[in-house]
């Protein structure tokens, strides 16, 4: 298949359309504006609907309504905007609606910086809203992965009747890279996908087949709904996705996700050239987190872990520490607030750690 040179945000939007997304609502915020702009052009071409919401809150609630009808629907925002999505996404999770949304992360907290960052990890993986729901969170590190992960997200969301988050960042959203686009689902396929959900969609039914999209329960039913959701989360062991690079004989493990992971990977190669046995563990999905990949390391051999994130303070390190449980030192290599991770910075911190533990 031919390679196309695409900007991350536009690739995300096109992948969604190809996956059958026919509704998008969003509110302008840098650095993800190319997603709604692309959708505004593209969706009408395929019989879809684009709405510019009057706010993030309106947009996520449009997403809620659209998802309830069984139409493959998506929204996107960035960091401080995603904070405003919290209640709406919790509603989608509680009502078990297959909404897909994208966070093209920028600096934080709050307005932070318009430049790229990875400062929403804990929000994305642990508490994207109230009530303790969980989601599959995809963390692409290339534009190609943005495409593949968005395309797959709609299937995952519908499989579980649960929202799925694509956790990208401003570098991925802004950069251009060659991609191979997945197949465009035909109008018939898109129609069939919606039709298959009709029995549980808010689209008009006779009284005896009535459908209710409920983000909560009147009365005492909520615990049963919490239990059902928790049972579904338990099926996610199979959904853990992790990339392990040169870890077989590694004495030093770099831990990174998303944009930082691809930078860490080049650092692993450079460290190897200097005779340091480094490896990379990269959560491809940051939720469910690959605890086993860290927990089952041979700590007789592995002497130290370097957690690499564009976030100060570090966030993913909580999950790494939880898995490692004190069995080797964990150090941090961090940038934040719009300052980008670089290979040079990773090398510097990795060499420091090597000196400390090797």
């Amino acid at each position: 298949m031919a390679r196309i040179f695409m900007k991350g945000c536009e690739a995300i939007a096109e992948a969604a359309v190809r996956a059958g997304c026919r509704f998008f609502a969003g509110y302008p915020i840098t650095p993800q504006n190319e997603i709604p702009e692309y959708m505004a052009r593209r969706l009408p071409e395929v019989g879809g609907v684009f709405v510019q919401g009057e706010s993030e809150i309106a947009s996520v609630n449009m997403l809620y309504g659209a998802s309830s009808t069984g139409t493959r629907s998506m929204s996107s925002s960035s960091s401080t905007g995603i904070s405003l999505y919290s209640e709406g996404i919790a509603a989608c999770a509680s009502a078990r609606l297959p909404a897909v949304y994208v966070n093209v992360m920028r600096g934080g907290p709050a307005l932070g910086a318009i430049q790229p960052a990875q400062q929403d990890y804990l929000q994305a993986t642990k508490a994207s809203g109230n009530g303790g729901f969980r989601m599959i969170v995809q963390a692409p590190s290339t534009v190609q992965e943005c495409v593949d992960m968005v395309y797959e997200a709609f299937d995952l969301a519908e499989r579980d009747d649960n929202p799925v988050l694509i956790l990208a960042d401003g570098v991925l959203g802004t950069m251009m890279e060659p991609v191979e686009l997945p197949e465009m689902k035909s109008d018939e396929e898109v129609k069939a996908l919606k039709q298959a959900r009709r029995h549980k969609s808010v689209c008009g039914h006779p009284a005896e087949e009535r459908v209710l999209a409920e983000p909560g329960s009147v009365g005492t039913g909520q615990e049963a709904r919490n239990i059902a959701a928790a049972e579904m989360y338990k099926t996610w062991d199979k959904d853990v996705k992790v990339e392990e690079f040169m870890t077989d004989d590694a004495e030093l493990i770099l831990a990174a996700y998303g944009i930082s992971a691809r930078i860490a990977k080049t650092a692993v190669k450079a460290l190897r050239e200097q005779g340091i046995k480094a490896g990379l563990i990269r959560p491809v999905r940051v939720s469910p987190f690959p605890y086993d990949a860290f927990g089952s390391l041979d700590f007789g051999r592995v002497k130290g872990i370097l957690d690499i994130e564009m976030s100060i303070p570090a966030q993913m390190v909580w999950d790494v520490e939880y898995a490692v449980r004190g069995r080797c030192p964990i150090r941090e290599c961090l940038r934040s607030g719009g300052q980008l991770m670089t290979k040079e910075k990773v090398m510097e911190e990795a060499l420091k750690l090597a000196e400390e533990v090797l």
Binding site: F5, M175, M176, E177, P178, T266, L340, M341, T342, K343
Partner: protein, 183 residues
């Protein structure tokens, strides 16, 4: 082998177009990996513009680098700001029409291209970036000349076919300077 490039100048000097042309050409006509990362000021107009292009046979890590193998600067502020990012042994392409190529480093190779004057002489000041792209390809041959010429044909030929011959000529003029500087 990864080849990294920063292109920097004023907004309106075609900085981003140079970067995307090169990156797009590499994507379309080679099997190499390539990334392009634009960086603007927050202003919509009149600010400075710079972009990063990486081309490699292997996977590319950071699309934004602290050190690069090549640097193209269209004005003095860009030269002052980015020169420190150029790796020893790297190539510096300077628009000598408005930037001073005398630098206090002797570990890099300087290619002097007076693109602003050349473009005005050619009757269209806008082609300065295409001249510079020609010089860059002539010197580095990071991708072949044909690959870039094809992309110029695709991009400019489709939108403004009447400007295609001028752009091809601009590219060739730059290419000649780049090739000569190599030897």
């Amino acid at each position: 082998m990864e080849r990294d490039l920063i292109v920097a100048g004023f907004g309106g000097q075609g900085v981003m177009m140079l970067g995307t042309l090169l990156a797009q050409a590499t994507c379309d006509s080679t099997d190499k990996n390539v990334t392009y990362f634009p960086s603007y000021g927050a202003e919509m107009r009149g600010g400075t513009a710079n972009c990063y292009v990486a081309i490699s046979d292997e996977e590319i890590g950071a699309p934004v680098m602290e050190t690069v193998s090549d640097l193209i600067v269209f004005n003095q502020p860009s030269l002052d700001r980015f020169l420190e990012k150029l790796a020893p042994g790297g190539a510096l392409f300077v628009n000598t029409s408005i930037a001073d190529p005398k630098i206090d480093r002797d570990d890099v190779n300087v290619v002097e291209v007076p693109v602003t004057e050349m473009a005005i002489e050619m009757g269209n000041p806008k082609v300065l970036n295409i001249i510079m792209l020609g010089a860059f390809i002539g010197y580095t041959e990071v991708v072949s000349k044909d690959v870039v010429l094809q992309e110029i044909k695709n991009k400019i030929g489709a939108k403004k076919p009447e400007l295609l011959p001028l752009n091809e000529e601009a590219f060739e003029k730059g290419f000649a300077i780049g090739s000569a500087a190599k030897n």
